[in-house]
Amino acid sequence: MRPTHRRQTMAFRLGMAFLAALLGTLLVLPFVALLLDGGPLSILRGFECALTLPALRLSMETTAIAVVVVVLGGTPLAWWLARSKWRSARWLETLLQLPVVIPPAVGGIALLLAFGRRGLFGGWLERTGFSPSFSTVAVVMAQIFVSAPFYLQAAVLAFGRLNQDLLAVGRSLGASPPRLFFRLVLPLAKPALIGGAAMSWARALGEFGATLMFAGNMTGKTQTLPLAIYTALEIDIRTAQALSLLLVAFAFVLLLALRRINQQPTRSERTVTAP
């Protein structure tokens, strides 16, 4: 009995390892190639490209704003979606996931048709003296459009999984709804919310199609890192490679840092999980 058991375990582990390695190779090898192909010198030369710094700065600023807006608006929206018993809430939840599925360029056209000069709300917007297309505001709007679903989904799941008994106890002890939300709900859901925000931020950082369509391509104003990479590709593939490495490194460091934060239990969490 024992040897068969061991053999099965062995086969199982080998099979798992093989499949994991297959996917792992596909996911990791392109990044290795990005780093090694062409040698460090040509990549260093690529960094000297005039597009680099303005694009990096613009990407940092716009994605930071986009994530703040997504979290500020997405948290109450997800809280309502997770608790609503209405059927329409399920419909809305699905509708809000659509930006993940549609090609980003289509998202950009949809944004133009809504907020462009001849769009649905364009005329009204223009009367207020503000037209978002070709502005940095359009960049942020495009980023919010494509990245919010990632945060929303994580937040709805997290809120839905909360221990209802715990909430009931809190209520019975006389905690007001705001107190319950800020002292109990948010701390409990925090790891999932941070994870969702990180995914959302990463998506915003990589956003290309909707931005190009809705905001255009203007150095220092609407040319984010992905757009700069695409522009650089027209100059020289090595420059594009250098800029891509910059984007990858930047994203890697930030995602790693967020992961760290997520693993450290905070004080409030400890008090909450204590019996």
Partner: protein, 270 residues
């Protein structure tokens, strides 16, 4: 439990089998001619492909349209291609220097034009009015249409004065990465004016108005075509180029708004 593990191993085996037998399905394929062409050639080359397939039964023409730069990178990375048609000479020359293509010929010419959306919000009537436009969208200088635009605006500044250049530069809102993006921004009314190829302007006749750019400041875009050095079907590739340069081919190109090749006999560009 054991059954599930066997399923795992079975799947793994299947994957292995698929990986270990490359090209098992390659036998008995019809002849394929692979044509890589600049995005602005899409409609014309699709028409030509149908014509070619009728003339050469048993041949399938596979076309791929993208920016000339993207196609060039794909060719440099070893894509199996028979014919390459570029929207400018730069990328063709780069491939020629690497001995990846053989003696290109110019097969068509295109003319940049000024376009405005229906309603003409900036009320432009001639090219000299361009500084009146509040929102101008052009191609990025790194892409062919953008490079031509830079040349046109430079010549225009000399003709109409430095104020022309200053005003135009002030109102450029975006430098798009391909000519179709410029066209899209103008057809949607987001931009008051843009510079595209005449052939692109013809595809959106109902939604834009075309204003000619005077010859004194305009440039001519030349389209080179060549057989790849590593073409799997060099004979078909040569037949394709012969069709493009033939009377029928040139007529299809002219209908789409292209100017004819400078000399229809295959002239070599250096």
């Amino acid at each position: 439990m054991t059954r599930r593990e066997f399923a795992w191993i079975f799947c793994t085996g299947l994957t292995l089998g698929a990986v270990a037998r490359p090209g098992a399905a390659e036998a008995a394929e019809p002849k394929e001619l692979v044509v890589y062409a600049a995005a602005s050639l899409r409609e014309v080359f699709q028409g030509l492909a149908e014509f070619f397939q009728k003339k050469q039964p048993g041949v399938i023409v596979r076309t791929s349209f993208a920016g000339s730069q993207e196609l060039r990178v794909q060719i440099e990375q070893g894509a199996k291609v028979d014919v390459f048609a570029s929207a400018d000479q730069k990328h063709m020359k780069a491939l020629q220097e690497q001995a990846l293509v053989q003696s290109p010929s110019i097969f068509a010419q295109n003319e940049p034009v000024l376009i405005v959306p229906v309603g003409n919000p900036a009320k432009l009537s001639t090219f000299a009015d361009l500084p009146k436009a509040d929102r101008i969208v052009i191609g990025a200088p790194e892409v062919p249409i953008g490079a031509y635009t830079v040349a046109i605006l430079g010549a225009a500044e000399k003709t109409y004065g430095s104020e022309f250049g200053v005003q135009v530069a002030k109102h450029i809102r975006s430098r798009e990465l391909n000519v179709k993006q410029v066209l899209a921004k103008v057809t949607l009314g987001e931009a008051d004016a843009g510079i595209v190829y005449k052939t692109d302007a013809l595809t959106a006749k109902e939604r834009i108005t075309t204003i000619a750019i005077p010859d004194s400041v305009n440039v001519v875009a030349s389209y080179p075509i060549a057989v790849l050095s590593g073409a799997p079907h060099a004979d078909l590739a040569k037949a394709w180029i012969a069709l493009v340069l033939s009377k029928e081919g040139q007529a299809i190109l002219a209908a789409a708004g292209f100017k004819p090749a400078p000399i229809v006999v295959s002239n070599k560009t250096k």
